[in-house]
Symmetry: C2
Subunit: 225 residues, 2 copies
């Protein structure tokens, strides 16, 4: 059997893995499949990558780093927060396999990049220095939490039919619940039916921005709804 001419590299392996993950989902990435794509055997991959966890972490790293690549330079501080947040949200939306990875804690190595990117905008918002850490980490927890759940919902929904049909089915089911036991859920079926995930996410960012602004009312109010 002829041996490969040019040697494997870690970057090549990781970028091929991202390709497989994007095309086939988290379950589609196998050392055997990856080896076949690279025209080699599973053993060769282990020379460059310790195990599957490290491979998934590296893949997540690569995508997150790309999403954070350019810092938004124009616009109000609020708009720059929105830009960074949406960049991460969309990255997870387009690479749903990252959802599982972002919930394992292994991404802590990536974490500083996210912390720095969000933190700079928090600092620009005029948050008191003593609140920088808490404000930034709370924003990150919301951003990633919302992104992960959005990606998970997108995976769960399409098996039933179109998105519109799915939302309508859930909304209708809610509206038919018992009036006492489900007194709240019953009343929001229609809002569920017509909501948009990205707008909902941005509404959460705006809620946080209003909360931040309310903590230092002497400066000014946060931007629009």
């Amino acid at each position: 059997m002829p041996r490969r001419s040019e040697s494997l590299s870690r970057e090549q392996i990781v970028s091929t893995a991202v390709g497989i993950l994007d095309a086939a989902g988290a379950g589609g990435l196998t050392f055997r499949v990856l080896a076949e794509r690279l025209a080699t055997g599973p053993g060769a991959i282990y020379w460059h990558v310790a195990n599957k966890d490290e491979l998934l972490t590296a893949a997540t790293d690569a995508v997150v780093a790309r999403a954070l690549a350019e810092e938004p330079a124009s616009g109000s501080p609020e708009d720059r927060v929105r830009a960074v947040a949406l960049g991460l949200f969309d990255a997870v939306d387009q690479h749903p396999w990252m959802a599982a990875q972002l919930s394992t804690g292994t991404w802590q190595a990536t974490s500083p990049h996210v912390l720095e990117a969000v933190g700079r905008q928090v600092r620009a918002l005029g948050v008191p220095r003593a609140d920088w850490f808490v404000t930034t980490t709370v924003l990150i927890q919301y951003i990633l939490g919302a992104a992960v759940q959005n990606a998970a919902n997108a995976q769960a929904a399409p098996r039933v039919g179109s998105r519109g049909e799915f939302l309508d089915a859930v909304a209708t089911a809610w509206e038919e619940l018992d009036a006492e036991e489900w007194s709240f859920t019953r009343t929001i079926g229609d809002q569920m039916r017509h909501h948009d995930d990205r707008e909902q996410f941005l509404a959460g960012i705006d809620l946080a921005l209003r909360g931040i602004a309310a903590s230092r009312p002497q400066v000014r109010a946060a931007g629009g709804a």
Copy 2:
């Protein structure tokens, strides 16, 4: 081989599974281990449970339902939001294996319980009806996102040493980063070193409450820190 006297039940299987998950983590739950604990074979379990996903979903369901069991009745609306949020946060903290499950979207079946529990408090806060859905789902995304990441961090940290040592090591590493490229992260090392996860979580809830209050300033300001 003698046959069991009393038959298996789905509830018995699920509660045994929760016990294994609590004791051995997500990786410790195996159909073989579970079968041995129940003094039966793997095949018998499949009569009551379709597959492992359904088992994990049922286990998560059971724990979440317990955490939401009693609705907080006393205190201000803000305090009741904090109580529900902390109940969920602590449940994930004590059953870290739920973190992976809460990020898969499979828990959508559980979702209405969480939605109802949080939504009732949002309604009590005096949020305009048109904002009920968005406000509630944003709160849930933050609560679960923060809980999941907290649980993941708790898994990642203890391998190095005590929590104090771990935080100190991370903080020190941050403080030694390049002053330009990491201009923000560098400055929050000390806040990282002395932070408390639960307080940080509650600070996030309070931030959201302030944001909610700021959206209807005609009523009153939110309480707390």
